[in-house]
Symmetry: C2
Subunit: 462 residues, 2 copies
Amino acid sequence: MKPSEELEAIAKQQGCCVEDLKFAQHMDSIDPIRPLRQDFHYPKMKDVKNTDLSIVNGEEDCVYFCGNSLGLCPKKTKEYMDIEIDKWSKIGVQGHTNGDLAWAHCDERIDKDMAKIVGGKEGEVAVMNGLTVNLHLLLISFYQPTKERHKILCEGKAFPSDHYAFESQIKLHGYDPATSLRLLEPREGEFTLRTEDIVKTIEEEGESIAVICLSGLQYYTGQYFDIPTITQAGQKQGCYVGWDLAHAAGNLPLYLHDWGVDFACWCSYKYLCGSAGTLAGFFLHDKYRNNNFPKLLGWWGHNMDTRFQMDNVMDLSPGAYGYRISNPPGFLCVPIKASLEVYNKTSMTELRTKSKLLTGYLEMLIKKQYGREETNNASTTGVYIDIFTPSDPEQRGAQLSLSFSICIQTVFKELEKRGVVCDKRYPRVIRVSPVPIYCSFQDVHRFMKYLYDSIQAAKDST
Amino acid sequence: MKPSEELEAIAKQQGCCVEDLKFAQHMDSIDPIRPLRQDFHYPKMKDVKNTDLSIVNGEEDCVYFCGNSLGLCPKKTKEYMDIEIDKWSKIGVQGHTNGDLAWAHCDERIDKDMAKIVGGKEGEVAVMNGLTVNLHLLLISFYQPTKERHKILCEGKAFPSDHYAFESQIKLHGYDPATSLRLLEPREGEFTLRTEDIVKTIEEEGESIAVICLSGLQYYTGQYFDIPTITQAGQKQGCYVGWDLAHAAGNLPLYLHDWGVDFACWCSYKYLCGSAGTLAGFFLHDKYRNNNFPKLLGWWGHNMDTRFQMDNVMDLSPGAYGYRISNPPGFLCVPIKASLEVYNKTSMTELRTKSKLLTGYLEMLIKKQYGREETNNASTTGVYIDIFTPSDPEQRGAQLSLSFSICIQTVFKELEKRGVVCDKRYPRVIRVSPVPIYCSFQDVHRFMKYLYDSIQAAKDST
Ligand SMILES: Cc1ncc(COP(=O)(O)O)c(C=O)c1O
Ligand SMILES: Cc1ncc(COP(=O)(O)O)c(C=O)c1O
């Protein structure tokens, strides 16, 4: 059953329409993970910037639909941070080996929970550096171009940082991005890439492709790629296949080990609520546990047992740990630990179940009110919203990318006045992500009201 | 005047001996930066691990001589951290552009003060990643071996992480560390490297050396190298010369720009008190502001003005900023900011003036009591301490590396019982660093007492 059908069925059962507040309230009342919102600081209208407190109630929660950019603060963050600051204050260097987050081991205290999020087996996941830094470390190993096989295959609209990483890696090896960076573009008139087209390109050009690296979930379109199919297609052609999971980790269930993905990296500040710019994830499949790839090494990749003999003879940790370079920052493990504890109260499967309904709910309300193909709600006539995120729930996560028939500048400002926190890309796109771990059906309902008011105000002001 | 002479002169003037508590108290009373200790949490006897509260007073400060490993916690850390956690809690993603440490700019809010510490000009210093990660990023640019010029010259006892970084970079380019990693060794029977010998090696083998990379201050011996002389000697031979300043930054004044150093990196958790595993420093000399070196790029190297157009056309920031890869972690800028504010209350020159006296004081007391060449204090007969850190104050920083004539295992345990926090390397070496920004002459005096008691106890127990 499609989410929209499921939602309509529930509404019918409840004797109301999906547009009714009552319906949203009912959906929240049957949401088994509703209490998890309480584990985060959900911002208030009065605190977020640019709200107009003459039109909204300052004490009310804002509508936080920006978890695709930065997740909310887990409440335990402060308590755990105080413990670390206090430890540092009281025992200085001895904090390296004392306390739950003993700094010499603090990354190892969180990477098992992190592995669960992405479906990594023991030894496959490390938590370190930033996302793009990890991408580079992986490419140093996996991208070893030869005259015959020199290409990196990626999305035409890859996230800029990845694009620059690919270009610079290609140049590092003396190749030219113009000929070695192969960009996948959607068909004319389409916004997202079709799996069949990706696979076709891989089949046609696979022999010249060294590495395939797409984002698991596209930051701009919200498209969720078919990771196992693409991975298999690439590997069949002898390519290494890796994934940037910035927008996928913590958003939907992943099975990196089972899918046989060669490598992956992701950040922990979006769906994973690990704080701005915090440590990133790193996945190396078990099949490369003991590999002979080139690597950039540091002492933190040295086996712990012998690391402090400091004899300058490298005794490399197997798997992902061998890629660790510098000693880990205790203060960044704090919020990640706080957040993963909340994730441990549920599961990616349970989150996904809610997410499909929550985003499906948002989609159906937008379509009903602003869709070109629906009987438009009279009062909004004249303004259309196209959703260029795939309508198939299997091909997307929490995020919807909305394309407005009017310039979004004023709409966005009006949304801000009403405490809607989301994200814009001029001239027409607003990205909204009702994140299942802390967002509710009533948030979606409120969003629709504020969106309506914002569009009205935008129309009035022009 | 040598520090020991200066100290003796002051003692004489005060009508006491340098061994007297009165003398240490006097030195503290005339120390212009004595109040800075109050800006840090100086651990108490009762809090540090393994103290025996039946022999020391728990309320007393410990003797923290381990700032060469991890600096103390600046008191402002908690206040500033609370601000960031509170900001995240209240406004979520908007924290990227709001507040003093707006996360999208937080590294730029601290790098100017960081540049002062190392003598970097505007645009030469960035704060990012970990030390060894930065070393790799710099080597990717500076180490481009050719058949003729393929060597990296470093210390035989380089810090392990650097050693592994060098080895892996050499292998990355298809060379063999056995022939391309050139290790400098001290003369037989000596512990430290002579500048003349380093220069001679450079002159003899310079043509085959691509990069010279030593630590500014040797972690094991405490030797401070003659950075300008070695840099010049290397550059004269056409080598790039870079420095790992882990133990030098915040320890003594550095003039990286004026010395014409090609590149440098350092961590901020030792003398700079920036918290365990925190962001590291990165220096690229202005002469390479716009260079064509290979680089590992990311979106954070893109000019800020145009970064968020996200058109995947790289518009690289000049200088060090162009080497930034991932977006910076706000929570790590917090303690660095807190610490650099304390550094801003003094200067590296002022710290160095105190440091020379403080470490000179420690050295003279150790020599008087445990030196082979002095008339030994009768009660300690039988135990000698050799200091293998250079006795010339210009060739060292705060740290002294002490080599005991007895195995240090028990001595170290006894020191711990007395609240002395320092660092051991079996079988014979204990490193102690009276850090001038928060240590006092009375700390040195107390250390000497605890050392004496510990040696006695160690002797009794054998
Ligand atoms: C001289 C030197 N270099 C490098 C390192 C390693 O630093 P990191 O783990 O921050 O990369 C250290 C750490 O103590 C060091 O003392
Ligand atoms: C898909 C994707 N890749 C990479 C990045 C860049 O990450 P970082 O700055 O953490 O390296 C982002 C950040 O938003 C992203 O969305």
